[in-house]
Symmetry: C2
Subunit: 223 residues, 2 copies
DNA sequence: GCGAATTAGTCACCTTCTGCGACTAAAGTC
DNA sequence: GACTTTAGTCGCAGAAGGTGACTAATTCGC
């Protein structure tokens, strides 16, 4: 994928770029330059003086030509044998991009997460970890908005949440919670999509934190 | 701290070991072997074939002589210049140990998190990240129990939660939530501590998950 | 021994939150 | 114009959560 002789660093930076189509999550993979049947996550060996995050951003730039707004580190992965870079450890970053604006460069393709080609065990672990990270961050961070275009209908937003959470949501409850969080604001545009009543377009409204308090909840997920 | 000539790996594994006294969190630091005025997190350069987690566990063994039940990786840290190991990147692990059973070996000391000695920027970032991780994991994972001895009173448990959450909790609400989560079981022991009515001792009751469902909550923490 | 102080543990009330069905609104289809 | 489809809202019933007041069991001071 990249010249590996420049500086044999014993770690690499790998990027799990995620986008969402109508009802599927997709991950960007790069065609292996030597064995063109194989695919791998975009990765990069950090150059001297290049921070981890910068390396991740560069890897994304090579793949998409643009940078996602905000990449999040999801950990260092060391187990598993083979990795394209032959590095001992890979630091994985997660990036979210709206599907509309995400056209990969030559050699890169989106794969549905449900239908990935074979990957190295290490990279497969990264993809799984990325999926978990997205789910767990869902109600802590505005993840869904980073996967949607600038304006969107509330139905689209709800569908995105349903996709990310993996379950159906009740429309009225969803909108009530959304209102309480004060997270979106209406635009004065409407979109008519096929049949049915046109939907109002909304935009994400980043705001100072609200809801300062709330008690304990022992919603433990694992024993 | 450790022989660095054996194998110059460009990354190290650092451990943020956390314990909790009555009303303070504390972190284990190691006295620097060359400059005995300086302190650092316990760390280790992974040997060949040593996984990241094993390296972290070994580092803890050297420091405490025992292993915490479960270490969690909190990320790879690359920015900031100086690090004891002179490595480019450090992978940080978080371990929780009950204060009662945590007697450090010679050269290691617990420091209150509010009163840490100077650390390298990178290690300071690790400690801060560890604190954030603990808070965010609080209602996802039984963090508090890993900081308490096997049996404890509900008041102790509540105090631990108050310490970790950084705010007071109402006794009745706390216990109601605890009951609903089915997370502790009473022992038949009671402990009389100074004045006041003796408290019943409880133990942690790991269990299959409950509460399978719940709607969305936009409890966003940042804009 | 006895009341005050202290800590443990529970109850009941009221408010807020949440699941959910039923409703109205505005478009297209035939 | 009746029917279908999607958007958007209302309001109730029940669950969850915040809080003060209560009972219980012990030590302390006298």
């Amino acid at each position: 994928m990249r010249d590996r002789s420049s500086r044999t660093s014993s770690f690499s930076v790998d990027v799990v770029l995620v986008t969402a189509t109508r009802n599927e999550l997709a991950v960007l993979l790069a065609r292996n330059s030597s064995d063109r049947e194989r695919w791998s996550l975009p990765w990069r060996s950090p150059q001297a003086g290049e921070s981890l995050e910068i390396a991740a951003i560069r890897a994304v730039q090579e793949a998409l030509g643009e940078v996602p707004n905000g990449m999040e580190q999801i950990g260092a992965f060391g187990d598993g044998k083979r990795h394209p870079s032959e590095s001992d450890v890979s630091v994985a970053y997660l990036g979210l991009v709206p599907h509309e604006t995400a056209s990969p460069r030559a050699g890169y393709t989106w794969f549905q997460v449900a239908d990935l080609p074979p990957l190295s065990p290490r990279q497969r672990a990264m993809v799984e970890s990325a999926a978990k990270t997205i789910q767990s961050r869902l109600d802590q961070a505005p993840v869904a908005f980073r996967l949607l275009p600038n304006t969107f209908t509330l139905s689209e937003l709800q569908q995105m949440y349903e996709l990310l959470m993996g379950k159906r949501l009740h429309k009225a409850s969803f909108r009530r919670a959304l209102q309480a969080a004060w997270l979106v604001e209406p635009t004065d545009e409407w979109r008519s999509e096929g049949r049915g009543r046109p939907a109002q377009l909304f935009r994400y409204l980043p705001k100072k934190k609200r809801r300062p308090h709330r008690g304990v909840r022992f919603d433990f997920l694992y024993p």
